[in-house]
């Protein structure tokens, strides 16, 4: 079979499900401060499913609110605009792709891994004083290209999974061998279409190669969070594999063992909560 090219992917992106218009608007406003919050909040409120999910997420103990918020406006007042925007995005993205398109691809396991990586990246970001909202969203989205490939090429992606089982490698190696490109390339294409900010795109683009010049600190955080989540065995897959950890990235975070033990524990606790909200 012909290897895929980036053009093949880009040409088919329009066939993918799209995010609600208000979420696209939120994503493109990510680096702007002077957004009219009340207008956006009202628009989000029109989508009841999205609103309900966002509020349950805001009310989870992860965010430590002392009162229960009942409207998007309240969530923004208590959590701030940036955090609320990330919650809305998380709620929208996890419900966007329809499951069960590709034999052998476990959608639930995919989201469990993505949510755990988001939780872990957020905890890591707090320890190194990086923007926690960026870390959470980048963690959630880091493998989103996989859903792009699964949605556009379900049959060929089934071959990818078979190749991976036969060779006991990482999924990214199987993607390159079978398709000729990987989920990183597909993820960047989608990130551009969805108006992700430059910071977010870099985080997705380099999470497998955080030591590359210009990769940015977000890639470092997502890279280490991804490895931690595999090591925590959260997906519960027999043949799970911890990808090699970049020593450059590990040193850049500069955390000691005590900090990591915190990170492991907090990741597990937060994961349980967030997964309960986003996957039901």
């Amino acid at each position: 079979m012909m290897p895929l090219s980036l053009d093949d992917i880009v040409g088919r992106l329009q066939d993918l499900p799209s995010l609600p218009a208000v979420v696209m608007e939120l994503l493109s406003s990510i680096d702007q401060e002077n957004v009219d919050i009340s207008v956006l909040a009202r628009k989000v409120s029109h989508d009841q499913a999205l609103t309900a999910k966002t509020l349950r997420l805001a009310n989870s103990s992860t965010y430590g609110l002392q009162v229960k918020v009942t409207t998007i406006q309240q969530a923004i007042a208590f959590l701030g605009f940036q955090t609320s925007r990330n919650l809305i995005t998380a709620a929208a993205v996890t419900g966007c792709f329809s499951p069960g398109q590709c034999a052998g691809f476990d959608d639930k396991a995919f989201w469990r891994h993505s949510i755990a990586t988001a939780a872990c990246a957020r905890v890591l970001a707090r320890h190194v004083r990086f923007n926690q909202d960026y870390a959470f969203t980048a963690g959630l989205m880091h493998d989103i290209g996989r859903l792009v490939l699964v949605s556009i090429y379900p049959q060929r992606y089934a071959d990818v999974i078979a190749w991976r089982t036969a060779h006991d490698g990482e999924l990214i190696e199987a993607e390159r061998a079978v398709l000729g490109l990987d989920h990183v390339t597909a993820g960047i294409a989608l990130a551009e279409r969805w108006n992700f900010s430059e910071t977010m795109r870099l985080g997705i683009a380099w999470h497998h190669e955080p030591e590359r010049a210009g990769a940015g600190f977000l890639a470092t955080i997502v890279h280490v969070a991804n490895a931690i989540v595999h090591a925590l065995d959260i997906a519960g897959e027999d043949d799970d594999l911890v990808p090699p950890v970049s020593t450059v990235a590990w040193r850049a975070l500069g955390l000691d063992e005590e900090a990591y033990l915190h990170v492991f524990r907090e990741t597990e606790v937060q994961f349980d909560e967030i997964v309960a909200v986003l996957m039901h």
Binding site: W250, F264, E266, V269, Q270
Partner: protein
Amino acid sequence: MSSAYRHLALADVRPGMVLSDVLLDRQGQVLLPQGAVLTAPIIALLPRHGIEALPVLRHADSGDSSADNDEAAPNCAMLQQRLAHLFRRNCIRNRDGSSDATDDLADSASATLQRYMADYRLGRERAE
């Protein structure tokens, strides 16, 4: 993870235990969030804030701590085996647990993560 918790006197709280509820000081300010892992330095600071007892999570899968010692050894071996499997791309241990790594490899970030994870899992089992 069970919802059950127990209220422990500060003297009985051990590092690695997890707060089951948000912890407030006398003024009602949040000292620690729910789910915080208690470490020795944190526990040492609590008397200064007037904390004498606190609620910690009790894990559904743990028995009484005194009875667990006999089972610790096989659990430990199983855990090491699972970790070695997960880290098979950067393996630093043979099946029997001995190390055949060069210094270089043993110093790598992957090896460090594997070691921390083993400490985390085993430390938690001891704490329960």
